[in-house]
């Protein structure tokens, strides 16, 4: 494999990682502040994609679609938080798992009821379509570069939000000590609703951004959910920094593993079985990565709490 191709694949891994980060950030935020396992996070991702597709189809504007994804997912998140999630903070993880699993069922079939069983159309805006030539002669899709940029901007925004704003102070207080928040006179119900809606909105935005180059269909959120969990667990639950590093690690492992493993096996096997064995191993690779990280560091790379 040429050096240039390797660079391009590393870029692809990075890009995949950033896409994962967009979904994982909201999940880790909600977990860190509220201690809530939210299986329905993938559904919010799906809601964002559907809202964007519907809006873009109606208005012809991708940007409006993005705005709609953010709004729809945040609204759905706030609604769910007030109606259901709020009652679950003091429950153990098992109740949260069951309740948010129930939410997946409701969201998935509700979406199918509203939008039908066929995938929706959502494409990237003309201005961002097609490849650009990078230094070194790599042709790379502009939209994917945009995703990398947006993802990094959101990461930066989250760091600033948490380190520099009043909301960030409250979030940090919430992570360390719930009683302290109440003592500080902060309306904890409002804080939780806001954080949950923020996490949901991020998931929705990710759904719209990613949906433009994937398939907008019912059930699109579940594989993403599992990957997002893998990411935040590797990074350490509750840590935005961990989520970013975990995302990139998973993105690189998955992409490079899929490319390099079959090549490696070809060195000592016939090509057909090398491809088969290499691909099989590659599909297990991120889970192997996660298991190894947890065996070495039982609370993830940046997880503080046991």
């Amino acid at each position: 494999m040429s050096f240039l191709l390797l660079i391009e694949q590393i870029l692809n891994g990075l890009q995949f990682g950033v896409m994962l980060f967009l979904t994982a950030a909201g999940l880790t935020l909600v977990f860190g502040v509220m201690g809530l396992i939210n299986l329905a996070h993938g559904s919010l991702f799906m809601i964002g994609a559907f809202a964007a597709a519907a809006t873009a189809a109606a208005t012809g504007s991708f940007v409006l679609g993005l705005a709609a994804s953010l709004a729809a997912a945040a609204a759905a998140g706030a609604l769910v938080e007030m109606l259901v999630i709020r009652r679950l903070y003091n429950r153990d993880h098992l109740d949260q798992v069951l309740a948010t699993f129930a939410l997946i069922l409701i969201f998935s079939e509700g979406t199918r009821w509203l939008f039908g069983s066929f995938p929706l159309y959502l494409n990237i805006p003309l201005a961002l379509s097609g490849p650009v030539t990078l230094p070194g002669g790599i042709e790379y899709p502009l939209y994917r570069l945009t995703i990398i940029a947006v993802g990094l901007l959101i990461a930066l925004g989250l760091f600033l939000l948490i380190s520099r704003t009043r909301l960030g102070v409250q979030i940090r207080a919430g992570e360390s000590d719930r009683e302290m928040i109440a003592a500080l006179g902060i309306d904890i119900n409002r804080l939780y609703t806001v954080v949950f809606a923020l996490g949901a909105g991020l998931a929705g935005l990710a759904g719209a951004l990613v949906g433009a180059i994937q398939s907008v269909q019912v059930g699109m959120g579940e594989p993403v959910l599992i990957l997002a969990f893998v990411v935040i667990v590797i990074g350490g639950i509750g840590s935005i920094k961990g989520a970013l590093i975990g995302s990139v690690l998973v993105g690189l492992t998955d992409t490079l593993g899929g490319v390099l493993l079959p090549e490696t096996f070809k060195l000592f096997m016939d090509p057909a079985s090398a491809t088969a064995v290499g691909s099989a191993l590659a599909s297990m690779l991120i889970y192997i990565l996660m298991a190894v990280v947890l065996i070495v560091r039982p609370t993830g790379l940046y997880g503080a709490r046991a």
Partner: protein
């Protein structure tokens, strides 16, 4: 999981169409995917099937429809119920090969007929064939073989081929290679359910391929096509019809325009039965029929044609009637091979835009009177 929509068509239609002499009613159990991500395919099969039943106006056919949720164990459970409790004569409807493998062997072993409107795993065409199993769609490899044949005739010499790493994917690449005579620029198995194909597309770009063949059903195909179109790689793409089907094309949009794909059916096949089918389907459901709908439609008509000739309780006679396949297939000519799989023409289509709608038009025949590669292994 059990939605029972018993559709006992009005007995008042006892005015009776000609040829409905045999009064023994036939009970059909349809197990198909109606909820979750893959529901579109099952809904199409169901709608096509029920359209034919409705048009026949035959009061002697009763259809029980159930949702398998694309889960093998649910499909088995439904089959058990239909066989044990509903006492159906014929089972049909399954979309996915892995579900078919779960249901078909035991259903046929229990003396039921199974007519496949979509899945055609090689095991059931070869060593595992059964007198009571009929495939009305295709053997899984057929469309891929046709794609290979088309690649030869189009002068493609160096294909890059990819499919998900699971049995149907492995069959797909094997099927393509069976007919294709050129070189392979690369051969990749992707992860089942994969949504991002940047790495694969980079490999395609870096190779010296002159064409791409892929089999990525459902959402995987949509993702691949969108990302491929955006990558700037402009090698010609060939694939089986599954990723260019009516239900999917609207979601892919312009990214699919011009792609050549192989199919045993298209809405512009020129015969009376097909014209009537396309028109009546659009009138009934307000959308264009898909490949899957056509297969459901043909399956129902095959059953109806056999009912007209034999009593379902007389299994040997009914089996002969099915094997004769004397119905007006929307594909034109249709007959069964010795292993009860179709011998049929497979066409090359191109994705085009008609007004706002993306659809396919036929370019020519890729393989004429094509049978499958496993018939020889079938002993029955």
């Amino acid at each position: 999981m059990m939605k029972t929509k018993s559709l006992l068509l009005a007995a008042t239609a006892a005015a009776m169409t000609a040829g409905m002499a045999l009064a023994e009613p036939v009970k059909v159990g349809m197990i198909t995917t109606l909820s979750g991500g893959g529901a579109g395919l099952g809904i199409d099969v169901r709608d096509g099937f029920m359209l034919a039943v409705k048009q026949a106006g035959n009061p002697d056919i009763e259809v029980v429809i159930e949702d398998d949720q694309r889960k093998p164990d649910i499909a088995v459970q439904l089959a058990d119920r239909m066989i044990q409790s509903d006492d159906v004569d014929i089972l049909t409807g399954i979309i996915w090969s892995n579900l078919a493998m779960a249901v078909v062997p035991s259903a046929t072993a229990q003396g039921k007929f199974y007519l496949s409107p979509n899945a055609g795993p090689s095991a059931l065409a070869g060593k595992g064939c059964h007198p009571n199993y009929f495939n009305v769609a295709w053997q899984n490899d057929n469309l891929h073989e046709a794609a290979g044949a088309y690649a030869n005739s189009a002068g493609l010499k160096n294909s890059f081929i990819l499919a998900p790493n699971y049995p149907a994917g492995q069959d797909a690449l094997a099927g393509y290679k069976r007919m294709y005579e050129g070189e392979l620029a690369g051969e990749i198995y992707t992860k089942l359910g994969q949504t991002d194909y940047a790495a694969e597309i980079a490999q395609i770009r870096a190779s010296d391929a002159d064409s791409v063949f892929f089999f990525l059903p459902g959402g995987m195909g949509i993702s691949f096509l969108k990302q491929y179109a955006d990558s700037g790689v402009d090698l010609p793409v060939v694939g089986p019809a599954f990723s260019f089907d009516q239900g999917i094309l609207q979601a892919v949009g312009a990214a699919a325009l011009g792609v050549k794909n192989t199919s045993q059916w298209n809405k512009d096949i020129d015969n009376a039965a097909n014209k009537a089918f396309v028109e009546s389907f659009e009138a009934e459901y307000g959308r264009l029929p898909s490949l899957y709908a056509s297969q459901g439609f043909d399956t129902a008509n095959l059953i109806l044609s056999a009912m007209a000739k034999a009593d379902v309780k007389d299994q040997d006679a009914f089996r002969e009637a099915l094997r004769a396949a004397e119905f007006d297939s929307v594909r034109g000519e249709f007959k069964f091979g010795p292993n009860h799989h179709p011998i049929q023409d497979i066409y090359v289509r191109e994705v085009v835009q008609e007004g706002d709608v993306f659809t396919n038009k036929i370019l020519g025949v890729a393989l004429e009177d094509h049978a499958d590669a496993y018939a020889g292994e079938c002993k029955m």
